[in-house]
Amino acid sequence: MEAWFALLVGIFFTVAVYLLLSKFIIRVLLGVAILGNAVNLLIFAGGRLTRDVPPIIPDGAEALVAPAANALPQALILTAIVISFSFFAFLLVLSWRAYKDLATDNTDEMRVAEPVDEPVPPLGY
């Protein structure tokens, strides 16, 4: 199960990186969303995947023993999901504003803050 998950997480990361390398901001945005989910699945798989054994610490042990799934990574993901979703929402609105105000969604053409035809700094006094 974990091996299949590792493969799936790998595919997610591949797709996310491919999209993040795009020039178009909407694809970068999709890349960010998939990247967040790839990380969530990664942490999920890190805590073992099974529902057959209830996560109860047996007598005498100090921590969960092998076949039971650890619940803490699942709690971590809940936090990470909330955070990545809110960031995605913010970036979505920001990208839309950028598209409207800068009239482009190509990052190569977003040169308002760093203009292309900048003057050379003064070379003498």
């Binding site: 960010v32 971590l76 809110s86 800068l102 803050a113 760093e114 003057p119 006094y125």
Partner: protein
């Protein structure tokens, strides 16, 4: 009913029963205080005339709290408070040691002077869009990052300060700001996601998130676990947050776009949170792995220094010059972390504290120059010295400080770093540090010659008045820089103790696990 069924559990092995002492509350108070004041400001959305007063009183309170915390930690060693009284490593721990307390105090001072400077810089529309609540929430995130003792919690505070910084960055919604925020936002989100990946792996490998517990458990797992890979991932994530070459491009693209006071805050605080996290993780949690990666870190540091300062030489805009100078300074801190030892780590911490004060001050200066000269380009700025000699003098001192010239605060960390680099035989790193300092002197010298000393169109003898809220913050930061430069002894001793506490974290571990781990 339930009581009779439940087995009699010995709660003393799960919970802390002794109520926390009054001093222990200081550990959590900076965060709680900032969140409370921020929440109050959010509730008082309409009466914006009240915002500055509440925020400045709040930030003054934060300086006081962080000052008390630093005194307490300097006297009694690291302090820990665990959320919900759960015994660590199960409860989320907040642990303040000297490093964290020093960074927190410096951040609070920077935020307070920025709060005062904002009186003249943030107009009504900025207040209505929530500059002051965002400022307080940013400080909650920054303080939390400096004081937390749990690595996942560190990630959460990173996100808190990141979302507040987004809000501050787009305040005003001009096309330039939106452009800058797009780059800042996406790249920083990717950086924190990298941090989250590393944290996920860390938990999967070590089974703990508590920093003191990680430091101890890593000891026994060095042979079997891929800790160097893990440390490398953390290094990449934090280097991106700190704007180290080659992942620094978001900083010069965005830091010159927002309001001046926002630039000043970011320039002072945000990259240093990345440096702090790098110091904490590489020096305290993974010292052996830091040794393995030190060459990569040193090369990245040297390139960051040179690329940063060459970028600064190629700019005409005052604030864009400063953005590149921040990057160059980050390179020096990375070099210190790479060299390690008391001199290297101490030098990196000292440089970070110095950079917080000086970069904020220089951004203030750029704002005042913009107001006096109606331009931010060193092509057109001229004759500022005639307009206000006091302002020119303060700026000149900050220019000396950022170049690392005595008698200002930049001199001592540079001495420590160069000496530490020479001690381990890394002459090329020491040479790069000195070269970067020399080039920085050229950058600031040119800036001062052109913008301040060059004859302007302004008639002689006409001196413009600057309000205390404008000049005061600049004067306070310059004064602190000069004070640290002239009398570095108390701070130096504290920084050396802080570096020693990171290299040998037994005090930190003992404060989290007072009775030794069961």
């Amino acid at each position: 009913m339930a009581a009779s069924i439940a087995p009699s559990a010995d709660l003393s092995t799960a919970l802390v029963h002794a109520p926390p002492t009054a001093a222990a509350w200081l550990v959590i108070l900076p965060v709680a205080w900032c969140l409370a004041v921020g929440a109050l400001l959010v509730m008082l959305r309409r009466p914006i005339a009240l915002h500055p007063t509440i925020a400045i009183v709040g930030l003054a309170g934060l300086v006081l709290i962080d000052g008390l915390l630093l005194r307490e930690v300097a006297e009694n060693g690291p302090m820990t408070m665990v959320m919900g009284r759960w015994l660590p490593p199960f409860g989320i721990a907040f642990t303040a040691d000297l490093t964290g307390a020093l960074f927190a105090l410096a951040a609070a001072i920077v935020a307070l002077v920025a709060g005062v400077f904002s009186l003249a810089d943030i107009n009504d529309s900025g207040r209505r869009y929530g500059f002051y609540p965002l400022l307080m929430l940013l400080m909650a995130g920054v303080s939390g990052a400096f004081l937390t003792g749990d690595i996942f919690n560190l990630y959460v505070w990173f996100e808190v300060l990141l979302i507040s910084s987004f809000g501050l960055l787009v305040l005003g919604s001009e096309p330039e700001q939106i452009d800058g925020t797009v780059k800042y936002g996406f790249l920083n989100l990717v950086a924190t996601t990298l941090f989250l990946i590393a944290t996920g792996y860390l938990y999967a490998v070590l089974g703990t998130l508590n920093m003191a517990d990680i430091a101890r458990k890593a000891e026994g797992l060095r042979d079997s676990a891929p800790l160097v890979t893990l440390a490398g991932l953390f290094m990449l994530a934090f280097a991106m947050k700190a704007a180290a070459f080659p992942v620094n491009f978001w900083l010069p693209a965005s830091y010159h776009t927002p309001r001046v006071v926002v630039s000043a805050l970011f320039g002072g605080l945000l990259t240093k949170v990345g440096v702090y996290a790098l110091v904490r993780v590489m020096v305290m949690l993974f010292p052996v792995e830091r040794e393995e990666l030190s060459f990569v870190l040193a090369v990245a540091g040297a390139l960051t220094m040179i690329v940063g300062v060459l970028g600064a030489l190629a700019q005409t805009d005052f604030r864009r010059i400063l953005g590149y100078l921040i990057v160059s300074g980050i390179g020096s801190m990375l070099a210190g972390i790479a060299v390690g030892g008391p001199g290297g780590t101490g030098g990196a911490i000292f440089y970070a504290l110095h950079s917080m004060l000086v970069m904020t001050g220089l951004y203030f200066a750029s704002g005042i120059a913009l107001r006096l000269g109606a331009s931010s380009s060193i092509d057109t700025l001229a004759g500022l010295y005639r307009r206000h000699a006091g302002f020119a003098a303060l700026t000149l001192m900050l220019c000396f400080a950022v170049s690392g010239l005595p008698p200002f605060s930049g001199f001592w960390p540079k001495v420590m770093l160069v000496k530490a680099a020479l001690d381990i035989g890394a002459w090329w790193l020491a040479a790069t540090l000195l070269l970067a300092g020399f080039l920085t002197t050229i950058v600031t010298g040119r800036l001062f010659l052109l913008a301040f000393w060059r004859e302007g169109a302004h008639a002689a003898g006409e001196v413009e008045a600057l309000s205390p809220a404008t000049l005061g913050p600049l004067a306070v930061l310059t004064g602190l820089t000069l004070l640290i430069g002239l009398y570095p002894e108390p701070l130096l001793v504290m920084i050396q103790n802080a570096a020693a506490g990171l290299a040998e974290p037994s005090g930190y571990v003992d404060s989290v696990f007072p009775g030794g781990r069961p």
